[in-house]
C-alpha cells in the first residue's frame, strides 16, 4: 500500500523557491493499476521520484507498506527499493556496459541472491529474448531493450512497479506489447503498477487515473472495468 499525505516539493530556482508539487494526497492500495497523467511540467516525474523514494519531500509524507520514506536514510531507501520497487523508464536506462542477462541480474545480486544469473536467463526466456542474453543494450532494438528493462523491474518480484512513459520511445505495436506485459504481471502476480504518462490512450489501460496540473491533483477517478 502506498499512502501519500499532503506531499509538497519545492526547489530553489534562480534565487526564488519554485514549488513543483502542492499538498498532494492519495492512497494506492495493493494490486492497483494507476496512471498519473498531466501535461509537461505538471509535476508527474517529481511525484514519481518521491513515491519511489528517489527523492525526499519538502513537506508531507510517502508511506510504502507502512515505512515513511522521508525519514529513511538514502541507503535505507535504496535497500527498500531493491526489495519492493521496480522501475521502467522511457529511455530504458539499461547499464550500457552490461549484457541483457547481467542487467536483469543486477537487482538480484544487489540483494545477495544466489543463482541470479540462472533466474535472469529464466526471465529472459519468459519475455522471448533467451537468444539475446549475451547482447549489450546497444545491440538490441528499442522494444527488446524495454522488454529487458521490464524483466529487470520484475526480477525481484517487487510490490510496486513504477513506469515512466514506458512506451514513449517505442512504435505503437511494440508499445502495446509492453503494456500487455504490464497488465499480465499486474493481474497474475498482483503487483501494484504506477504508470506516469501524458498519453491518454495509454492511461486508459489503467484502472484508475490521477490527473495533475500545476503540481496539484485536479482529478482522481476509477475507470469502469
Amino acid at each position: 500500500m502506498l499512502v501519500v499525505r499532503q506531499l509538497t516539493k519545492s526547489y530553489p530556482s534562480g534565487g526564488r523557491t519554485l514549488t513543483v508539487l502542492h499538498d498532494v494526497s492519495f492512497t494506492i492500495p495493493d494490486g492497483a493499476f494507476v496512471a498519473i497523467v498531466g501535461p509537461s511540467g505538471s509535476g508527474k516525474t517529481t511525484l514519481l521520484g518521491l513515491l519511489a523514494g528517489l527523492d525526499t519531500p519538502t513537506a508531507g509524507s510517502v508511506l510504502l507498506d507502512g515505512a515513511e520514506l522521508g525519514t529513511l536514510s538514502e541507503d535505507a531507501r535504496a535497500r527498500l527499493r531493491g526489495e519492493k520497487v521496480g522501475f521502467v523508464f522511457q529511455s530504458f536506462q539499461l547499464i550500457p556496459t552490461l549484457t541483457a542477462a547481467e542487467n536483469i541480474a543486477v537487482p538480484l545480486e544487489l540483494r545477495g541472491m544466489r543463482n541470479a544469473g540462472v533466474r535472469a536467463r529464466t526471465l529472459l526466456d519468459r519475455i522471448g529474448l533467451a537468444d539475446r542474453a549475451d547482447h549489450l543494450p546497444a545491440q538490441l532494438s528499442g522494444g527488446e531493450q524495454q522488454r529487458v528493462a521490464l524483466a529487470r523491474a520484475f526480477a525481484n518480484a517487487p510490490r510496486v512497479l513504477f513506469a515512466d512513459e514506458p512506451t514513449g520511445n517505442l512504435d505503437s505495436a511494440t508499445g502495446d506489447r509492453i503494456i500487455q506485459l504490464l497488465e499480465e504481471l499486474n493481474r497474475e502476480s498482483g503487483t501494484t503498477i504506477v504508470l506516469v504518462t501524458h498519453d491518454t490512450a495509454l492511461a486508459s489501460r489503467a484502472k484508475r487515473i490521477i490527473r495533475l496540473s500545476d503540481g496539484a491533483v485536479v482529478d482522481d477517478r476509477e475507470l469502469a472495468a
Partner: protein, 849 residues
Amino acid sequence: MSARWRDLARLAWRDSRTARSRLLLYMSAISLGVAALVAIDSYSANVVRSIREQSRELLGGDLSLSSRTAFPPSVDSLLDTLQRGGIPVGRSTTFTSMALVPHAPAPRLVQVNAVGPHVPFYGTIETDPPGRYAELQQGHTVLVDGSLLVELNAKLGDSLSLGSARFAIRGTLQNVPGDVGIASSLGPRVYIAEKWVPETKLLVFGSRAQYDALLKLPAGTDPKTVVNQHQPTIDSAHVRTRTVQDTERSLTYDIQQLDRFLGVVALVALLLGGVGVASAIRAYIEEKRDPIAVLRVLGATSRQVLAVYLLETGVLGLAGAVVGAILGVAAQMALPHVAAGVVPVTVVPRLEPRAIGTGIAIGVWVAVIFALLPILGVRRISPLEAIRHDAAGAPVRRILSDWPRLLAFVALAASVVLIAIGRAGNVRRGIAMSAGVGAALVLLAIAAALVARVTRRVLKEHWPFVVRQGLANLYRPANQTRAVMLALGFGAFLMSTLYLVQRNLLARLTASAVETRANLAFFDVQSDQVKSVDSLIRAARAPVLQQVPIVPMRIAAIGSRSVSDALHDSRRASWALRREYRSSYRDTLITSEKLVAGTWFNAADTAARSGPWPISLDADLAADLGVTLGDTITWDVQGVRIPSIVKNLRQVTWARFEPNFFVIFAPRALASAPQTTVFLTRVMDPTARAALQRAVVVHDPNVSTIDLALIQQAIDGIVDKVSIAIRFMALFSVATGILVLLSAVAAARRQRLREGVLLKTLGATRAQIGRIMLSEYTVLGLLSAATGLVLSLGGAWALMHFLFDSPFSPAGPPLAVLALIIVALTAGVGLSSSRDVFAETPMAALREQ
C-alpha cells in the same frame, strides 16, 4: 585572421566556457613535463654560460702542463725559458697524505695542494679569516677545509702534521674556483706552500702525485700555438696540456651529458602528459556529443567542428605550457641549491628565452598531436544524436582504412621520435630511446589487453557481486584499463628502474666490502716499512687480510714497436700506451677476477728464466692496447726493461674494496723490482681502528690509510647528491602519472555516474557502489604496478648489464612497498575523483530522460 577563422575561434571560446577550468587541470599534465624541460634546459644553459665566463678562473691560468711524475729536466728548462721570455709560470703539486693533529684520535686522509707563488693567476681563493691565502707563502702555515677541523676536532692555531713537517692552521677554505664541493668529501683539501714539500718527506718512491705548471700568457696569445711550438718536448715527457678552451669544452660536455640524461626523464614526463591529454580530450568530446550534434544540425561541417576542438586544444595546450614554463623557471631558480657541490662553477640563475621557448613549443605540439586522435572522433558524431539520444554515430573504422586517423597516428609516432632525437643529441640514441619508451608502452598495452582477457576468463559466478562487478569493469566496453595501466604502469616502471639501478650500484660497493671483509687499508708502504706496518697491525690483534706488492711501470714497446711508434697506430688507444701502470705479481686469481682467455700461471711460469715473463692482462685493456694471447710487451720498470708475453686475459670487477690490477706478473718476475705494498686489514671497533691508523702514521708518516666507513660515507654523499637531481626529475613523472590517472578516471566519469545512479535506483547502497569501485581501482593499481615493476626489472637489468657492466640483483621488499603505494594511490585517486557518483541522487536517472 580571416573572418571564418575568427568565427571558429569565437565558437571554440564559447564552447569551452563550461569546462575551461577542468580542461586546464587536465592540461596541467603537460605543464609538469614542460616545467621539467624548461628547468633542466635553463639550468644547463646557466651552467654552460657560467663555465664560459669563469673558465680562466677554473683553470687558474691560460695553459696548464701536468704530469704524474716530477717534470723531467727537458720540461723544467722549457718552463724556465718561457719565464725568462716574460711568461709568468706558477707551480703546484697535489698528492694525498695523512694529516694529524696532536690530540686527535685518528689521522685523516687529505688532499694536499702545495702551491707556488702566484698560483692561481686568475680567480681568488677565499678564506676565513679573509686574506689568509696571500700569506700562505710566508711561513709554515696551512689552510684547510672546514670539515677537516670538525673531523680532527681542531681549531685555528692548532698544529697539523703532514709527514715529517708541522704547520700552523691559519684559516679555512671558503671558495676555491673550479673545485667541486663533493670532491672534498673523499679527502678534505689542505693548502701549503710548495717549498715545504721536501720537508714533509711524503713524496717518496711509488707515491702518487700530480705536478702542475700554470702559465699566464700575454693577452691575445692562443695557448694552442704555445703548445704546438713545444709539442715534441711535451710529448716525450708524457706531459698533458690543458687550455682554457679544453676546460670549457670538457666541463660543458659533462654538463650537457647530465642535461641529456635528465632531459630524457623530463621528456618521459611530457609524453606521459600527452597520454593524459589524450584521455582528457576523449572524455571531453564524449561529454560534448550533444552540443556537437546540435552544431551539426545547425549546419556545421565535420571539418569545422574538428577545427573548433583543435583550436581549443591548441589554446589550452598553450596555457598549460606557459604555466609549465613559469613552474620550470621557478624550479630552475631552486636547482642551484639542489645541485650545489656537484657543479664546479658559481651558477647565477638567469632567464633563458631559448629554453623557455623550446619548452613551450614542444609542450603545445605534444598536447595537440596527442589530442588529435581523440578529436578525430568528432567526425563520427551524427546530427541525428541531437534528436535521438540512442542514434549511433558512424561506426569506428579500422585505422588502416581511415586515412586521417592513420595520418594522425603516424604524425604522433614521428613527433615522438623527432623530439627524442632532438633531446638525445644524436639519431641512434634518439631512436633507441623512442624504441625503449615505445616498447615499454606496447608491453603495457599488451598487458592491459591480457588483463582484460584473463579477468573475463577467471571471473567466477560465486564471487561476491561487488567484486565481480568491479572486476568486470576491467573488460567491459569503454573500460579505462588501458589508459590507467599505461599511465600508472609507466610511472611505476620509471621510478622503479631508477631505484633499482641506484640500489644495485650502491650494493656493488657494499657487497665487495663484505666479501673482502676488510675495512682498513694502508698503502704506499715502502719495502723497509713492511715489517713495522705488519707488526703494528698484528699488535692491534687485527688480521692481515691481504698484502699486495705494487710496482710502478710504463710500456716501453709492444712487440717490436716502441711506444712512440705504436702511438701512430689507430687500433691502439693512446691513454693505454702513455699511462703509468701500477702492477702486481701473484700466483692465484682473486675473487674479483675471472679468467676469460688463456690459462693461469703454472709452476713453470714462476721458475726463474731468461726469456719474457708471462703476464695476465685485463681483457678490456688488451683490446685497447690491440694485443692478444702470445703478444709481447716490454715494460720500463724504473729504467730497467722487462720483456713479457701475454699468457691470459682476466675480466676484473673494479668497484671492489681491494687492489685490482690491469697487469699481473707471474711471481718472481718483479720480486726484486722497487715496490711499495698495500695492506688490507679489519678492525671492527672504530676507536681501535683510529688508534691503529694513528700508530702507523706516527711510525711511518708517508704511509696513507683509508677507512672504508669514510669512503662509503663519501660515496653515499655523492650518490645522494646525484640521485636527488634524478629523483627531482622523476617526481615530475610521478606527479604527471597522477594527473593522467585523474584524466583517465575522468574519461569514464560520465558513464560511471550514469551507472552509479542506475544502480542506486535499482537498490544499491553507497557502500556497495564504493566497494565496486574500490575493487576495480585496487586491481587496476595492482596490475599496473606489477606490470611496471616487472618491466623495470628488465630495464634495470639491461642498464646494469650494458651500461654499468655489472651483475644485477632484484630487490623484493622495496618494490613491494612501491607497489602498495601505487595501489593505495590508484584506489585513493579513483574513489575521490568519483565522489559525484556517491553524491548524485537517483532522481537523475528520471530527469536524464
